[in-house]
Amino acid sequence: MKEGLNFVLGVNLIIWFGLAFYLFFLDRKIKKLEEAFTDKRK
């Protein structure tokens, strides 16, 4: 049973790290767009 548990833990961690990486990437991209818009307005 513990082996199965390790597998599920691994899947959970992969999903979470994938999501966190995507959110950090999105955050950065939005920040760049916001900065580009601010520069354009200036």
């Binding site: 939005i30 916001e34 818009f37």
Partner: protein
């Protein structure tokens, strides 16, 4: 940035603790009770999102503030997403515990109705062409939709016989293992933090989308977006 990094570490710790710190609850097949640390916080965040969408809709109707409409829309989107996740995780538990992914249990039926109600919110938003009318209709609908949430989430599953576990896994009732309670509360915090992070990103995206529209006015003093000129 620090808060986001801390949240990432916190969530990772919660996931590991859910499998190796907390013990599996008695009375459930194998390790299936560990779904509690993921399924319940997802349902909690969905309910919180729908509540937030309803409050923002009330604010929009009172003040006609675009920010409130953006918040109502973003919260409803995330509410639907977390509601779908809760449905999927519950379905996985149902397969392991009850033998089938879907059993038309009262709780499963009520969540399907809830998904359809909030799915219709987006259908409504995309069906109305005029932006002002769309926002007003959506706000009114969001308020009406939320009126069904307490009934579908809390009342229906409790007044009918259900396969859904209650006594052993409900933290409001005495008897929950202290280790389980700690991880469960930690998971609630982590999921709420994740929701706030995603909500903020969605709001910033919506703001950028609006800024691309011609004639969009920004109030420099208050930094609040105004109506389109």
């Amino acid at each position: 940035m620090i808060v986001k990094v801390l949240l990432s570490i916190w969530m990772t710790a919660i996931i590991v603790a859910a499998f190796f710190y907390a013990d599996a609850a008695v009375g459930f097949p194998g390790e299936t009770s560990r779904i509690l640390f993921f399924h319940v916080p997802q349902a909690w965040v969905a309910t919180l999102s729908f509540l937030l969408s309803m409050i923002a809709s009330c604010i929009y109707l009172a003040r006609r503030n675009l920010k409130a409409d953006n918040l109502a829309l973003s919260a409803a989107e995330l509410g639907l997403l977390f509601c779908l996740l809760a449905t999927a995780s519950g379905s996985i538990f149902a397969k392991a515990a009850w033998g089938s992914f879907w059993n038309w249990d009262p709780r499963e039926t009520s969540i399907v109705i809830l998904l359809m109600i909030y799915g219709a919110y987006f259908a409504l938003r995309s069906a109305v062409g005029d932006p002002d009318k769309r926002r007003v209709f959506a706000a009114v609908y969001s308020i009406l939709a939320f009126a069904t949430v307490p009934f579908l989430v809390f009342v229906v599953p409790r007044i009918t016989a259900s396969l859904h576990p209650e006594d052993t896994m409900n933290p409001a009732k005495p008897g929950m293992d202290p280790k389980t309670l700690k991880v469960f509360l930690g998971s609630l915090i982590a999921y709420t933090g994740l929701f706030v992070w995603m909500l903020k990103l969605r709001l910033r995206l919506l703001k950028l989308e609006h800024l691309r529209e011609p004639g969009y006015i920004i109030n420099e003093k208050t930094n609040l977006e105004g109506e389109k000129g």
